[in-house]
């Protein structure tokens, strides 16, 4: 089953930079600068990158929560960018989103029942009794109980809130779920529980995920394929194992090298090596000289089946 459910072509988002007293536009902040990828039905595509690389913006553009500046987004062979606003709202029934911060993504003045019922209400699904039934069913599915329905978000722990966020995303039976850093705000002990829940749900509901994260370990755990983003561009895209075993792009290599390894011996050896080159090991110091050499933009090139890299290789 490798039918693409979503095809993203050359999507861009430029935010205007204004300056002067008149607020005149003096330039563009290229948050996302020509990103292309596709997602197959039933798979998980991980998108990794450091903060500010445009991965969240990309996720939000897919739902047109942020309007893309350019490019096309084909979902089920339908160009989302061509849809009027009203039609776009209907499409959102099939594409849902899970947010990063479970403390901020739930309306503090609504009960859990209201939060979960609202997607059904908005899309006109079911009558009052059916909706109530579906809410309590969904609470059980994500590992809560229907008893929780009458409570408010502030009465739950972070992990429980994220389960509510996941339940909300599932209410309308979507095909595609965009998970924007769904576990990075949670305790490490809770992260794996939520990740396993997401995996289980994927099998159960035949979901397709786009999993956005900065934690390489988490992405490896959940993804079938992984895309690496840097400064608004996709620099490498391949099967998860290929990315981790055989990273081809210099940035991917450095990103993987920056992953902390819980081994004091290794760290010391690493530090020694780094000092020899006159720099201290820091995950923030990333050599991007290749960016300057490749001043002209490179499209993703398929170097081996399913492995795309956006840089001329030496």
């Amino acid at each position: 089953m490798t039918k693409p459910i979503l095809q993203v072509k050359n999507v861009k988002k430029y935010f205007p930079i204004t300056g002067g007293i008149l607020g005149k536009k003096i330039g563009d902040m290229k948050a996302v600068d020509g990103v292309s990828f596709h997602v197959n039905e039933g798979e998980t595509l991980g998108i990794v990158g450091e903060s500010g690389c445009g991965k969240s913006t990309t996720g939000r553009m897919l739902l047109r929560l942020i309007e893309p500046t350019d490019g096309s987004i084909l979902f089920d062979n339908q160009d989302l960018r061509a849809l009027p606003k009203k039609e776009m709202r209907k499409v959102r029934r099939n594409i849902q989103m899970i947010f990063q911060d479970p403390y901020a993504s739930l309306n503090p003045r609504h009960t859990v029942e209201k939060i979960l019922e609202e997607p059904l209400l908005v899309h006109g699904i079911g009558d009052a009794t059916e909706r109530k039934k579906k809410v309590s069913e969904m609470l059980e599915v994500v590992g809560l109980t229907s008893y929780h329905a009458r409570r408010y978000p502030h009465q739950f722990s972070g992990g429980q809130r994220q389960r509510i966020g996941i339940a909300r995303a599932l209410m309308t039976n979507p095909k595609l779920i965009i998970a924007d850093e769904p576990v990075s705000a949670l305790d490490v002990s809770i992260q794996s529980q939520v990740l396993n829940l997401l995996k289980d749900l994927q099998k159960e509901f035949q979901l397709t995920y786009i999993f956005i994260a900065h934690d390489l370990g988490v992405v490896r755990h959940i993804s079938d394929r992984v895309g690496v983003m840097y400064k608004g561009r996709m620099v490498e895209l391949a099967d998860a194992e290929k990315i981790y075993q055989n990273p081809l792009h210099p940035y991917t290599q450095q990103l993987l090298a920056a992953v902390p390894i819980p081994d004091p011996e290794y760290y010391q050896a690493d530090a020694q090596a780094a000092i020899q080159f006159g720099t201290l090991p820091s995950p923030y110091v990333i050599d991007d000289s290749w960016m300057n050499i490749e001043s002209e933009r490179d499209d993703l090139v398929e170097v081996e089946p399913g492995h795309f890299v956006a840089c001329r290789l030496k």
């Binding site: 499409v91 959102r92 609202e118 997607p119 908005v122 599915v141 590992g143 722990s157």
Partner: protein, 298 residues
């Protein structure tokens, strides 16, 4: 849809806990605040007086007895009588009706109009925001009482027009307050989540943005009622509000000020009534601020 067996859950300690809405939590902490409860008590006290004034007042509102003009407080006339021989106690009781009425109605008016404009300005931004905000700025550039006098001067002096004037001058306060609140609420992730679900702007505004922007408005409204009562009294004092023989506290002060030396009770009791009501609303408002301000909660 298949229903799975209940999954392992990190905590179930909440099982027995009752649902606590943020409003109820606010009321809980309000109840603990003694000073605020005193304020609430004063406000309720004046409300009861206002409602039952005809039953409580020993004399009619305009019942004159010229033989007892400017008489000091006595067992027959608790607060004394004014220069027409009217019972000041009865008039103060009836005055509560006018003052609370003016306070509540004018502030409700400015809250409704101010919120409407403020939400639109804050949510849609761009030129709509610029136009509405500049109008607010222009209105705030005038001293409020001067603006009120100008409005009354255009409409003609009467209690009703004073009420309209007070409502108008308070609009920008509420508008700016809710605009700034909406600006911060619309950045919240649950608004983004609501859009991701596929909600329309109208639903997001009324079900998500408005309820989360309301707390400071309630606080501000309570405090604004106090100000509105003073403003109404001030307009009454200047002869731009209530007209004789209406028993309006400010007007009573104005009418009696020439007797302040000979018959201080004619000024004292309406003055105390104004002061107490305003104090009550202010104490209550401060208590509400402490109880509802989310910044203090987290």
């Amino acid at each position: 849809m298949p229903v799975l067996a209940k999954r392992e859950n990190e905590t179930n300690q909440l099982q027995q806990e009752e649902a606590v809405s943020p409003w109820r939590e606010g009321w809980k902490s309000f109840k603990k605040n003694k000073v605020a409860l005193v304020g609430l008590g004063i406000v309720l006290f004046f409300m009861i007086i206002a409602v039952f004034a005809p039953l409580l007042a020993p004399y009619g509102i305009n019942e004159q007895e010229l033989s007892i003009r400017n008489n000091p407080p006595s067992p027959e006339h608790w607060f004394g009588t004014d220069d027409f021989g009217r019972d000041i106690f009865s008039r103060v009781l009836y005055g509560a009706r006018i003052s609370l009425w003016v306070g509540l109605v004018s502030v409700s008016g400015s809250v409704i109009v101010g919120c409407f404009l403020g939400i639109i300005a804050g949510y849609y931004g761009r030129w709509i925001d610029t136009v509405i905000s500049r109008i607010f700025d222009i209105m705030l550039a005038f001293p409020s009482i001067l603006l009120a006098i100008a409005v009354v001067a255009v409409l003609g002096p009467s209690l009703q027009n004073a009420l309209i004037a007070i409502a108008i001058i308070n609009i920008p306060n509420f508008g700016r307050l809710i605009r700034s609140k909406v600006l911060s609420v619309k950045q919240e992730e649950y608004i983004m989540a609501a859009r991701a679900v596929g909600m329309s702007d109208g639903r997001i505004l009324f079900h998500h943005v408005l309820p989360n922007s309301l707390a400071p408005i309630i606080v501000q409204a309570t405090l604004a009622i106090a100000t509105a009562i003073i403003e109404a009294a001030a307009l009454g004092f200047l002869g731009m509000g209530a007209q004789p023989p209406q028993a309006e506290w400010g007007k009573m002060l104005a009418d009696s000020r020439q007797y302040i030396i000979q018959a201080p009770w004619t000024v004292l009791f309406p003055g105390i009534a104004i002061m107490l009501t305003v104090l009550g609303f202010n104490l209550m408002g401060d208590g509400l601020r402490d109880a509802l301000d989310p910044k203090m909660k987290n």
